[in-house]
């Protein structure tokens, strides 16, 4: 194991968690992210490869899918973001590339993003202050890209009261600040 210590997107040694009223905003730093884009005319081959290798059926527009501890959400035409527990730099990326071979372009995105999981009964009131995405009509498993305080983020519904907010890593401080300010507004 190499000797470089990692830092969280907020610049600390460990992930932080904040509770405001009934809302919890928890920084998540142990999930690897890998972008998978099917190559031309290779989407069927890509789907087959992942279904066969790991039992994952790539989801349709606006949705996510899970097989064991590997998930994927739709990000664009023939493009998905895969997520799995972090096991080291580029580990998930290599695994997925191994499964899909030449059918897709695979890029590690783990450290391009920060993630805050928001949970509590008032999550919808919170998101109403932050995003134009129609969160109240999004079911568990739905995922979309939208804007929060001028940042492009993914909103991924884990359950009715638990959402993942995935934003650009370098702006983690600004995103966290926005979430906290909105939470204080409503709680």
């Amino acid at each position: 194991m190499h000797r470089l210590q990692s830092r969280t997107p907020l610049g600390a040694a460990a992930a932080r968690s904040d509770t405001i009223g009934t809302l919890t905003i928890a920084e998540i730093t142990d999930v690897a992210l890998v972008s998978v884009s099917a190559r031309n005319d290779q989407e069927p081959a890509l789907r087959a490869a992942l279904a066969t290798a790991v039992g994952l059926d790539l989801p349709e527009v606006g949705q996510s899918a899970t097989a064991d501890d590997l998930s994927a959400f739709w990000t664009g035409p023939s493009q998905w973001m895969c997520a799995a527990p972090y096991e080291g730099g580029e580990v998930l990326c290599r695994q997925i590339k191994h499964h899909v071979g030449a059918s897709a372009s695979v890029v590690d995105q783990t450290d391009a993003w920060c993630r805050f999981d928001v949970s509590g009964a008032q999550v919808f009131d919170l998101f109403e202050r932050l995003t134009k995405a129609p969160v109240r009509s999004m079911a568990p498993g739905a995922a979309c890209r939208t804007g929060v305080e001028h940042l492009g983020v993914y909103l991924w519904c884990q359950s009715a009261t638990h959402w993942a907010v995935i934003g650009p890593r370098s702006s983690a401080g600004s995103l966290h600040h926005a979430l906290m300010a909105a939470a204080r507004s409503i709680c």
């Binding site: 527009v61 664009g76 035409p77 134009k132 939208t146």
Partner: protein, 102 residues
């Protein structure tokens, strides 16, 4: 405005960046004898109608697709939205099917 993205459904135009006339899809052939003139017209001459206009929008805060939107510039009514890639591929297919290179 609301743009009805063919894949994602209705989205606020604020999520997009506007480029301009969809004629920009018809990039001239660089080795044509009149290439300079064609590129000049391609880049600088516009019809700019008060009425139906086909134009390019980039879904920057969404799925980063380029879209061809048919919009009435007077009323802002949006009549049609297509993936630009599909439009571009269709034009290519039509051109290849119909043309003989000279």
């Amino acid at each position: 405005m609301i743009i009805n993205h063919p894949l994602l459904g209705p989205r606020d135009a604020q999520e997009f960046t506007y480029l301009g006339d969809a004629e920009l899809l018809n990039r001239p052939y660089w080795l044509s004898e009149t290439a300079l003139q064609q590129f000049h017209e391609y880049l600088y001459l516009r019809d700019n109608p008060a009425g139906t206009h086909r134009e390019l929008w980039f879904h920057e805060q969404g799925d980063r697709s380029w879209l061809v939107v048919t919009r009435d510039t007077g009323t802002h009514e949006i009549q049609n939205v297509e993936l630009a890639r599909d439009v571009a591929l269709a034009r290519r297919a039509a051109r290849t099917a119909g043309e003989t290179r000279g």
